[in-house]
């Protein structure tokens, strides 16, 4: 009895700290980033506005998620909300109203990919192309060229980049070293290791050793810009 009490006194704090530290650190480190879930494309200019939240406010006010600085748009004009299997647009007391495919909505209306939405004479196409069709979707990490949008899927656990033809990604440029960098998948994360005397730029920051990659990072390999997509969607 005394033996157990004596030793458990020291085991308890150690275990408690490990347990609570593990839970709390996981709460912070494993938090997914905010991602774009749809787009509003201006019908006139073709400018694309990302919709980053499941509930997105639209209006002239600076406190809205999407600010439309037009006099015909109310300060708080609309809210686009994502539901389980559909998208909904709500008129939040606008003066000029909202038109979906030419019809004025009363309060709320369902919207689909490709619908035209008019906020105070300003027309947008709503784009949520992949919504509701996810059964066969596969996610894979990939490198996407910023120059020509060419995609290289990271199907193996390592991937080398360099001027030599033996590399997985071959970049025939004098600014690129023979073996410039290597990507390895370690402990659930992709890590880039530099082998070049010129180094590698990650989001414009020069590195000479190793660096963990995050989704959306821009790699500069001897002047070639490549985007790292951790969850590239492959149908």
């Amino acid at each position: 009895m005394e033996f157990i009490i004596e030793y458990s006194r020291y085991i308890f704090p150690c275990l408690a700290v490990i347990i609570l530290l593990g839970c709390c650190s996981s709460l912070f480190s494993k938090r997914p980033k905010i991602k774009t879930v749809a787009f509003l494309v201006n019908a006139k200019s073709g400018e694309s506005v990302p919709v980053n939240y499941w509930e997105t406010s639209i209006g002239r006010s600076n406190s809205c998620d999407i600010v439309l600085s037009y006099s015909t748009v109310s300060r708080f004009h609309a809210v686009i909300s994502r539901r389980k299997d559909t998208w909904v647009i709500s008129d939040t007391g606008s003066k000029t109203g909202i038109f979906v495919n030419g019809e004025k909505i009363k309060h709320k209306s369902k919207i689909n990919d490709g619908d035209t939405i008019v906020f105070g004479n300003i027309a947008y196409y709503f784009s949520a192309p992949d919504f509701g069709n996810k059964k066969d979707t596969v996610y894979i990490s990939a490198l996407v060229s910023k120059h020509n949008s060419k995609v290289f899927l990271l199907e193996e656990n390592t991937c080398t980049i360099g001027r030599d033809k033996s590399n997985n990604i071959y970049l025939n440029l004098p600014t690129v070293s023979r073996k410039h960098a290597e990507l390895t998948f370690t402990n659930g994360r992709w890590v880039i290791k530099n082998y070049s005397s010129n180094g590698v730029y990650i989001n414009s920051k020069l590195i000479y050793e190793s660096c963990r990659l995050s989704d959306g990072d821009i790699l500069d390999i001897g002047g070639v810009l490549i985007r790292f997509d951790e969850f590239y969607q492959q149908a």
Binding site: M1, I4, I5, E6, S8, R9, Y10, F12, P13, L15, A16, V17, I19, L20, G22, C23, C24, S26, L27, F28, K30, R31, P32, K33, I34, K35, T36, V37, A38, W54, E55, T56, S57, S63, F76, V79, S81, R82, R83, K84, S90, T92, G93, K108, A128, D130, K134, T137, V138, Y139, I140, L153, N187, G188, R189, G216, D229, E230, F231, Q233
Partner: protein
Amino acid sequence: MRSLQKIKPFRWGIELILITIFQLISFTEVMLDAGENSSKFILIFFVFLVVEWAYTLLMRISIKQTSFELEFISFFLSGIGLSLVATLDSDFLADGTQTQASYAAKQLLYILAGLVCFMVLRWVIANTDRVAALRPPVAVISGAILAANIVLGQDINGAKNWITIGGFSFQPSEIVKVLFIFVGAATLDKLQTTRSVIKYIIFSVGCIGALFIMRDFGTAVVFFVTFLIITFMRSGDIRTILLICIAALVGAFLIIFFKPYVAERFSTYRHIWETPYGEGMQQTRVLIYSASGGLFGLGLGQGMLRETFAATTDLVFGMVCEEYGMIIAFAIIISFAAIVVYTVAGAKAARSSFYAIAACSAAGLLLVQLSLNVFGVTDLLPLTGVTLPFISRGGSSMISCWMLMAFIKSIDPRAYPKTLKETQALG
């Protein structure tokens, strides 16, 4: 091919094993302390362990959930509370006051009820359309519960906040805490359509006023802070908050001026050492015995604070310090602070403003309740008799704490694995 599932998830298996080891050692100590009565605890502890494993595996298999951090913190704290309550039973069994481990059995039932309510609330709030439809009736129910409490409530320890039905006593204000947040939080389209918070202010004044009538000042403070958080998150207007605070301050002075007995309830505050055998007895005992526990504690069942009135309810933080040690006590406080920071930081990624407001309010409420309890028993704040979340003995408090965790859980996109993939697809 590197699919999303291969990205390293939360190490839930290792964490759960560590929690189980901690609890097994705790339960073993309790049973050794109970001696010949140890058999009365075996079933209680076994059921508790089975429930926490069954819940985790059920959620892992059914919805492929990988994030269990909040549930594990809740189970961990509930386990500490259950062990402390069981040691009290052990004392009563030894001196013949009880024949069964009734406190521990009841505490286990409350934990189970809390877990069920947690799961039900998670399901209810998963659909924001359902939430919008339920808000008006829930507001009416909250008012009706508090009104019933004023009429039927029993005066226990100076506050008229208990109702007894069929031998079971409960505190309706604990459940109204959850409903209060449910009514206050709203989806973005609702917030922008009705930008005025007047209706919610009227509802809140009604709730907090009812708590003052019941003389449940601790819970009133908890409600007031929650109300401030919700109002700020709904309106974003700091001037409204300042006006409300000034009005509340004036109101408090008026109450003290016209009802001096309210101030008398706090007369011991900062004077506990003048009456160590009278009104200051609880706090002085907590300070003395907490210090005697040191960093590592005396061991379960070995403390002296248990002999003081309300040791496993209002003063349970002192028992944790004395029997588990100061390191664990501080780790508990820090984990609540971490939950608040996580909630505030993670609210941006919430699927709906309802979840963001509800989660921040729930986290704030838990932190205020924890602060009132910890600082109250250590005489840094007036002792108001609020419970220590998940650890204090009592059903209403346990159920409300689990339900508040459901609000905090709602901001985590990993709690909805299917939709997470969809969200990441367009990134």
